[in-house]
Amino acid sequence: MAQTQACRNRAVITGLGAVTCLGGGVEGLWEGLLAGRRGLSEFAKFDPTGLRNTLCGQVRDWTFTPAEFGLDQTPDEAAQFLLVAAAEAIADAGLSERLYSGAERRPEVGLSLASNFAGAVSWEQYLSSVLAKEPSPEQFAQFSFGNALSLCRDVFGAAGPASQLSMACASGTACIGLAAEMIRDGQAGVVIAGGYDSLAASPLSGLSLLRTITDDDLYPFSANRSGTLFGEGAGVLIVESLEHARARGARCYCELPGSWQNNNAYHLTAPDEGGAGMARVLAGALGKADVAPECVGHINAHGTGTEYHDVAETQAIKSVLGAAAYEATVVSIKGAVSHLMGAAGSVEGIVAALSVFHQLVPPTVNYGEPDPECDLDYVVDGRREQSIDYAASISAGIGGDNACIILGRAD
């Protein structure tokens, strides 16, 4: 039988950290979005000849000093993004002294990580070494999914409950929901939750050949949309029990009352008719959160700018929220930061948390021409003050995976 929320711990978000193409961590992300800035640039990491588009959300001017994290070796690039975002989130939560001070193991601190491609850059290097008959054990360790868990355990002393999801582009949302479950179950007092990914040749090749990547530009929910653009980075959220947060006087951005994750069970790449899988994931998350659909004032949408996805997501929102769908603000941030793959849901979760906290919604950047089939309030005319008791953040990915978290005002 379902357990009631009343007898369980409540999970709140107390710290945020981000690495995106907008630069400047969470402040750069939030201020950039509110100002309608775009962080995309021409691809510079490797020769992009042959890709459908050379515009991407790459992290620019990146430097990483292993010694600052107590590391002897330079970790995989995506793990670097994760570590830097985690350090920012930990500092933002006011936990730096306890969580970022050496090798002490802390069983009350958990990890809920997620990635689509994990060590994608290290994978390319490892495969090259294998094909050259000189396999590199270092690159083997760096590309594996479990690497980031071990790194975060060693760097932050997070020795409590640990998990790592890979649910394609739904990963970064799902791991936030799972972190809240660790808190509600009393497994941990604090959980470092986050998604991360970096741009590499093999995933971009596949996404280009599938024509998921547009040869034009990324126009979320617009009539002239023709595909998405990809980027890299990390989003990390400190999820904490309300009791733990109150005891130390921490600022709470919002509460995480429930989440859901599922699969369309339809097709590896095409969304199902009417967005049925996304509708189930939104309804499931609202059910777990015990929140009525009409109480949702804001949705941070997946909004990739692909032809079929955006209309399916719009239909899913309308089917679950009914008439209330037209009262909610629905925002896609992908026009500003691109589609960050496994990091997308975590960065979008951060933005959703800030929207709830500030009761303020950034615009859907790079909105194009109106589409009669995408007829919700996509906040196309600049930032908007919005009364938000509850928000939802939805993600979907290749393979038909979906994830949704509900965010509520922290009283």
């Binding site: 039988m1 379902a2 357990q3 000849t49 042959g50 890709l51 193991r105 069983p107 990890l111 689509n116 994990a118 994978w123 390319e124 495969l127 294998v130 094909l131 054990p137 083997f140 360790a141 594996s144 999914f145 479990g146 690497n147 868990l149 071990s150 355990r153 997070a158 020795a159 409590g160 640990a162 998990s163 790592q164 999801l165 890979s166 649910m167 799972l178 479950e181 179950d185 009393g186 040749a201 093999s202 090749s205 596949g206 280009s208 050949l209 599938l210 859901w260 994750q261 599922n262 699969n263 069970a265 339809y266 097709h267 590896l268 899988g277 189930r280 499931g284 777990k288 393979g399 038909g400």
Partner: protein, 308 residues
Amino acid sequence: MGSSGADNRVVITGAGPIASVGIGREDFLQGLFEGREGVGPSERLADTGAFAAVAECFDFAAEDFLVSKKTYLDRCAELVLCGCILALGDAGLDYQQIDSERLGISLGTAFGCLESMTNHSARVQAKGVRFGSPMIFTHTMANAPTSIACIEYGIRGPAATWCAGSASGACALEFALRRVREGDTDIMLAGGADALSSVLLAGLSPESGIVPGEGACMLVLEPYERALTRGARILAELVSVSVTGSAGDEHATTPAYGHTFGASVPLSVCAGMTAENAGRTLRAGPAADEFGVRGPGAEVVIVCGDGQ
């Protein structure tokens, strides 16, 4: 909290192991009981690097179990699809008779579809980004086996894929346990899978004493009361699952079917559910970073049933 009161006990009513020593629960247990040889030279891989012998699923052919004829399946996805069917059959369940929204899946895989990743990435590296394979690419992702199982068996309930090294299968069991305990679903298919490939073996250290293996094991989890109502045979109660940065056995040994990474915890659970162990509490789980495979440790606790 994870109390196991009568109203939220979760039991294992079916298991679908695929391992070098046997395929299907009875054959797998028989293989272990009689000491069937599970380690030898690979029959499938051209290059096994420093490993003269591996624990390959020598007798496994997906077409023996699958109704549909896919044009392309990664070895890991084959193992998962067949593991699901074996587990459901062992539990006396027909997926077509289960409410699809009350059927969920939770899969752990340390390395996912490494062979397909190699096929796609080697083309990209040799010829450029325009020459990857879009069809193979969709089968390279770690979540592809779970997704394909969802499509094949109409699984519309909770779904998750876990990639946490050798603890991946334990992560999968923990999520599934929570879903059933919280009443989110009636049936969870939960377990793990990993396939051997040349590119994987090239990265493993022979000095660790590991015998690399491959396999899968899906378990059927359901509420105790539901299992009683439908007269299901109860193999064990799943009491608790803990995956932490430091949990697990300190003395890792390789079982007769090799170290199977994401499949190792579910296979250990299956191996423990014997008539001899009825009533006993068993613990299974890898140590953190075991055999040099990065990731947390785990401990799964089951109480074996007596309804063998």
